[in-house]
């Protein structure tokens, strides 16, 4: 279990904007350590965002998403106090779910 994803969701003019910062190394598998050994890839592969249980975004990441992945997207609707959940899975099968409410 990695550290908590920081999530901020705000509704304005009938549209909700969700910003999130996941905490993950996102090691590409292309780097070598000081001894010349390849550092194995360690990346978030799948992300899902739910609004009150309904999927509003699904993402698949490759190795080129930056360390501590940052995402912003918008969906129609949403109201203050409604729940936003962010779930991710990495290639070591570690998983994390974090929640916030729309502000």
């Amino acid at each position: 279990m990695g550290e908590a994803t920081r999530i901020r969701a705000t509704v304005k003019d009938g549209q909700t904007e969700v910003k999130m910062l996941m905490q993950h190394e996102m090691e590409t598998g292309q780097r070598k350590d000081a001894a010349g050994n390849k550092i194995p890839a360690w990346i978030i592969t799948d992300v899902k965002v739910l609004h009150e249980g309904r999927t509003v975004l699904e993402a698949q990441f490759g190795t080129a998403v930056s360390k501590n992945p940052y995402l912003v997207f918008r969906f129609m609707g949403g109201a203050k106090g409604e729940k936003i959940s962010v779930l991710w899975t990495d290639n070591r099968d570690d998983k994390r779910m974090d929640e916030t409410v729309i502000d």
Binding site: Q15, T28, Q30, R31, T45, D46, V47, K48, L50, G53, T55, V56, L57, E58, A59, Q60, F61, G62, T63, A64, V65, S66, K67, P69, Y70, L71, V72, F73, R74, F75, M76, G77, S85, L87, W88, T89, K95, M97
Partner: protein, 152 residues
């Protein structure tokens, strides 16, 4: 007996297990592109894996990223499109070892808008691929990279 067994199984699955059963946990079995697309080594292979032949350029896709990236490890990218019925947005970097950086499935009622941050190994062309109403469209932009991001 059956019910008791089901309850017991439910209990041992734990929260994530139950969420997985409900289809709430993202995983390789979920919709979207396969890992083959995410491991493609050039644009053509990535397009093949995504099921795209030759995507049309579209002025309805706005791809925003810096002209020059001093640090290739963190390059902000925004894709915004006013195409109707957007289903999918993908971000590709032609010179990266794995060209497909990320793929997004856009359900109904979700804006054609994504901002994220990606790694770019060397000066390259970034391609935003948007699937709308079953068809693929693209927009591209070159970015000069001063310090590469794949080994950083």
């Amino acid at each position: 007996m059956e019910r008791r067994k089901a309850l017991k199984t439910g209990g041992s699955l734990g929260l994530l297990g139950v969420l997985a059963v409900l289809g709430l946990v993202p995983g390789s079995a979920s919709a979207g592109v396969g890992r083959a697309a995410l491991e493609a080594g050039n644009l053509n292979d990535a397009f093949d894996a995504l099921g795209v032949s030759l995507p049309e350029n579209s002025e309805l896709i706005k791809l925003t990223l810096p002209d020059v990236a001093e640090n290739g490890a963190v390059v902000p990218v925004t894709v915004e499109s006013s195409l109707a019925h957007i289903e999918q947005i993908s971000i590709l970097v032609d010179k990266n070892i794995n060209v497909l950086a990320a793929n997004f499935i856009i359900p109904k009622g979700v804006a054609g808008f994504i901002t994220t941050r990606i790694k770019i190994g060397q000066t390259a062309t970034v391609v935003a691929l948007v699937k709308a109403d079953g068809k693929f469209y693209r927009a591209s932009k070159e970015v000069q990279v001063t310090q590469g991001g794949c080994s950083a």
